[in-house]
Symmetry: C2
Subunit: 356 residues, 2 copies
């Protein structure tokens, strides 16, 4: 259990207690990894009592000092289980991900006075990585850089996106990572213009753009990087213009990042580059997302987040232009915010690269 | 869009409207598959108006006749988006999986009069498979039977669980399936006594039990089967007793299944076999779960489900005994309930099998 992290979380909450269910939050606070599927998993925190974990007996659990475990089985009633541990006059901060099937009975059966979204204190604590976490984030991205150098060698005449994607997990493992941090995106040609394209049976053709959006998990921490290559033929003039705009958007944004600048303003720096280049409507998503033990953690580099970046924040900078008839292109790095700038975790070059 | 299924769902609800967010429910009703990650995805259904889908513009969407799509972007406000489409005097049936971050604002900002768990009408409709679905379920399990015959040939001196598990996806694909339906469980020796064991670097040893809990996806429908083998040496007398009890529990339960018998009573049939054999405390989970496009769908074969089985229900029968020092063993098949019995979808034998 990480008493220090729990302390930081409880300091930030206005609720009388917190009921967390997100396995990644529970891992962050207790060091225990549990995947409960559809079953209830809850970590109850409050300032006066020891933390309590509600856990289905199906899941083996290594005892954790300072944590009381309340076991239940598939036939136990969820409300009966919780009631003795909640107080009717509490405002309960519930996990933002608590499913309605668990939240509605708490509300309707008045186990507490009120429920509010209680995740922000956890999310804000998680958003500032400590040294141990940063070390793992760096290594995870270092492996990702190495892996990108290997992935491009898989790209050969006649191969399909799926055939490339299938080889990725094993390459990560051979480099010391545990697995992918998300389903790899491998997109050829027009498919690169769909930001969430899933690898399919599309066969590589000369002149295709080849987009890799890939990441791995190293000691529980995720990497995430995108590069867009060209196969055999260099880009056309318009493709080159698009590519260079995306590159400039990425690099200008990274140069702008430091503690104290607003996340929305970082987004604007990249967005304005693309807008001024005439492709504004084709950059359809936020500039970046926070990342850590989950590939998407709370926090966006977008117009919606007007809070300042803080030292230790770790997020992606991933501008893209998705112009279906001409080119889909994205260049993504991870960065760690520092007091006077940022540390870019990815070192794989941004320059146009033609795979021969 | 499947107007007939939507009709069946709306017939069953007491709410004024339903707001569904589970991608598998949305796929079932609209035929459109969307993985929205942390972004909001909602299908709003009510008897008077055309169905509406709230969708982030990031996700490409093939138009769907009869379905209005309301697009939003990352910077749009979720409550503003929903308000014009909800009515203040409605009781809104929300998806059982609707996360608190979406449910709490609906409640607090009084977009509707009340929210109830609205998933049951969808879940009950999905629980009765139609002919087209049953055809796919059968084929998916047929592939799983074939695959089991191949998986056991991977089990060789010196191999690790992970090395076996890594080969499984490609084998499924070679047999015409799309992928695994869940992370394969491959467990050697004592690991078989953890029902949710994840493949690790454990090396196979002579005399080990070898448990495979595996399934694939064929045309969106899942299979799920478990067999427990022995490596090189036959079972000891106590292992044999345990294995035969599990086998009898499986077969007695399957013989008992038919439309009209209660799900809890099917569970009891298997549970009593194991209890009478003296291993009651080591059968730690429900007997089975419903299955379809998701590997776990709503509905358990457990003491909690006192409703009768209906023709077209499709679920697993998977008794197990987890006795750490001696043997962990599970035998699982899928069955389709019929009026006078059940159709067992798996044909891989239940008999003790020694891998040489």
């Amino acid at each position: 259990m990480n008493v220090e992290r729990i302390g930081k979380v409880l300091e930030k909450t206005e609720a009388d207690a917190l009921l967390l269910c997100d396995p990644s939050a529970i891992f962050y606070l207790t060091g225990r990894k549990i995947s409960p599927g559809e079953r209830f998993l809850g970590l109850l925190l409050n300032k006066e009592e020891r933390p309590k974990l509600f856990l289905n007996i199906l899941f083996p659990f290594e005892p954790c000092e300072g944590l009381d475990v309340i076991e239940y089985s598939d036939t136990d009633d969820y409300v009966k289980l919780l009631r003795p541990h909640l107080k009717e006059d509490w405002v309960l901060g519930v996990d933002k991900d608590l499913p309605a099937r668990f939240l509605l009975p708490i509300l309707k059966q008045k186990l507490v006075r009120d429920c509010i979204d209680g995740s922000l204190p956890v999310d804000r604590t998680r958003a500032i990585k400590d040294e141990e976490e940063l070390r793992k984030m760096r290594r995870s991205s270092q492996i990702n850089d190495e892996a990108m150098g290997i992935f491009k060698t898989l790209v050969k005449e006649g191969i399909t996106e799926k055939q490339v994607a299938d080889q990725i997990p094993e390459i990560y493992r051979s480099l010391g990572a545990k697995s992918n941090s998300f389903d790899s995106i491998v997109a050829f040609g027009k498919n690169a213009a769909d930001p969430h394209h899933m690898p399919d049976d599309t066969v590589l053709k000369e002149g295709d753009a080849v987009l890799f959006d890939v990441g791995c998990i190293y000691e529980d921490y995720c990497s995430d990087m995108t590069r867009t290559f060209f196969y055999k033929k260099g880009p056309t003039p318009e493709q080159k213009r698009i590519y260079e705009l995306v590159k400039k958007a990425n690099e200008d944004a990274e140069a702008y990042v430091k503690a104290g600048v607003r996340l929305c303003d970082i987004d604007s720096v990249a967005r304005n580059v693309i807008k001024e280049g005439g492709y504004g409507p084709y950059f359809t998503h936020r500039l970046g997302h926070f990342i850590g033990t989950q590939v998407h953690e709370y926090g966006d580099v977008s117009q919606s987040f007007t809070v300042p970046a803080e030292a230790g924040n770790t997020f992606s900078i991933e501008p893209g232009i998705y112009y279906p008839e001409i080119l889909g292109c994205r260049i993504e790095d991870l960065v760690i915010v520092t007091e006077d700038g940022c540390e870019v975790l990815n070192h794989y070059p941004h320059e146009i690269e033609i795979i021969r």
